[in-house]
Amino acid sequence: MDAYYRPQHLAKFGTIGEGNQKLADKFFDYYAEVFKAGALSAREKALIALAVSHTVQCPYCIDAYSKESLQQGADLEQMTEALHVAAAIRGGASLIHGVQMLEHVHKQVMA
């Protein structure tokens, strides 16, 4: 293997069952069930997956859910807004810890 990420690996996801088929089957059954349209539409689920893909920075997921989002009727503007939701949460998660910082500072610095 000369690269950590290869596009062909996406199509080989199913081979992960080689070491434990039972667990792989359970995972893929669960996965398929999760993405069926339910209380959320297939398009909404694809957009959530797209945003999470960028948060976990998985190129396989970004490849798969860019296509899936388009296929389920999303357009570039909707997909971009989904990414900004991920970016906002990610940035917010850093910034909210600033309240801890403030408490440390207020405790240790003379008012």
């Binding site: 349209a37 539409s41 297939a42 398009r43 296509k67 388009l70 296929q71 389920q72 009727g73 357009d75």
Partner: protein, 352 residues
């Protein structure tokens, strides 16, 4: 009334026709060669026709638009391919010899054929369900502005192309300004009663993906489109159908130019769904070309893959023979994977 003056056909243009550019892919034989060179295995299912339920008439390639994905290579320059009154009469005579309940009229923009209203009128008089495959924007052009009310009086079903319920993907595929014009046309159709749940005034929207991917979950998209169009533009429709893009003509040109051809063909083949085969439209549809030649579907028509009788003779409307046609085999090639992928694809939408 003659054919409309094409310089007065006001419509969005995403590209120009392959024919007008003398592009190699204007040739059907070249298109079939390109598909063969992808290395995709031939389409092997042997298909036999069932009873003809849908009599589909393509009245010509003239259109006020030139969409990027058009499988007909239609456009304002395609004035030569126009069904004559004589061929219309032959179609009506042939129609009377079938039990087809539906007449599906397509093009180009079929409304621009000078015999279109006569054909519709004759089919309505025969008690047929008549479908007009409409690009929406044509309803805003001079000669067609009265058509919504004219259609409503006759109970013609309208199947409209609208690739997306938002502007971006619609205009990318069909040309700048398409979306606004389409919304205006939908408003006019709504105003005469279309798209309000009345089965006599049925308004169906047709979605084609705006790129190298398949049509998604139809029911889910229909719910979102209904809500999106109602909330944002105040227009309504009855049903959404989703049709995969066939890898032929201008869509094939785009697939090649964008480097997507091989991956798209792989996507189609990998998504092959045997459950779609029994319901393929080529089995219950007869497709008539502008010049009277007969085909198993509109896509075969554009690839010039004529329906052939068992003895190999090409079928034509002037010697229409239902019994000989029933004994034929349906002509298939690699583009047929477009109709068997995923939930399947037909002029009536998903199959499986």
């Amino acid at each position: 009334m003659g054919a409309p003056e094409t310089d007065k056909l006001i419509g969005p243009r995403a590209t120009t026709s392959l024919v007008s550019r003398a592009a190699p892919l204007a040739s059907a034989a070249r298109q079939l060669q390109v598909l063969e060179r992808t290395g995709v295995a031939p389409f092997k299912a042997t298909l036999r026709p069932a009873a003809v339920e849908i009599f589909q008439i393509n009245v010509g390639k003239l259109c006020n638009m030139t969409c990027r994905h058009c499988h007909v290579d239609a456009g304002p320059d395609r004035t030569a391919e126009m069904m004559s009154r004589e061929t219309v009469e032959l179609c009506l005579a042939a129609l009377d010899r079938t039990a087809a309940a539906t007449v599906d009229i397509t093009g180009g923009a079929p409304e621009l054929n000078p015999h279109f209203r006569y054909l519709v009128e004759q089919c309505v008089r025969r008690g047929k369900r008549v479908i007009d495959r409409c690009n929406l924007t044509v309803l805003l052009t001079g000669p067609c502005r009265d058509l919504p009310a004219w259609f409503a009086e006759r109970g013609v079903e309208i199947v409209c192309s609208l690739p997306h319920y938002r502007k971006r993907n619609t205009d990318l595929q069909r040309g700048d300004g398409t979306f606004e014009k389409s919304i205006e046309a939908l408003e006019r159709l709504n105003a005469v009663g279309y798209g309000q749940g009345n089965p006599r005034l049925r308004l169906t929207l047709m979605h084609n993906p705006a790129g190298a991917y398949l049509a998604g979950d139809r029911a889910s998209m229909e719910r979102e489109w209904k809500q999106g169009l109602k909330d944002n533009y105040g227009v309504s429709f009855d049903a959404l159908i989703a049709l995969n893009n066939m890898p032929i003509s201008r869509f094939l040109e785009w697939l090649e130019a964008s480097g997507n051809l091989h991956a798209y063909m792989e996507t189609l083949v990998n998504a092959y769904n045997p459950a779609t085969v029994a319901g393929l439209m080529c089995r219950n549809t007869l497709s008539v070309g502008w010049d009277g030649r007969l085909y198993d579907c509109d896509f075969n028509q554009m690839l010039e893959l004529d329906a052939r009788y068992a003895d190999g003779e090409r079928a034509h409307i002037r010697d229409f023979d239902p019994a000989r046609l029933a004994a034929r085999s349906i002509v298939t090639a690699r583009h047929c994977f477009g109709c068997t992928a995923g939930a399947g694809s037909s002029c009536g939408g998903a199959i499986a």
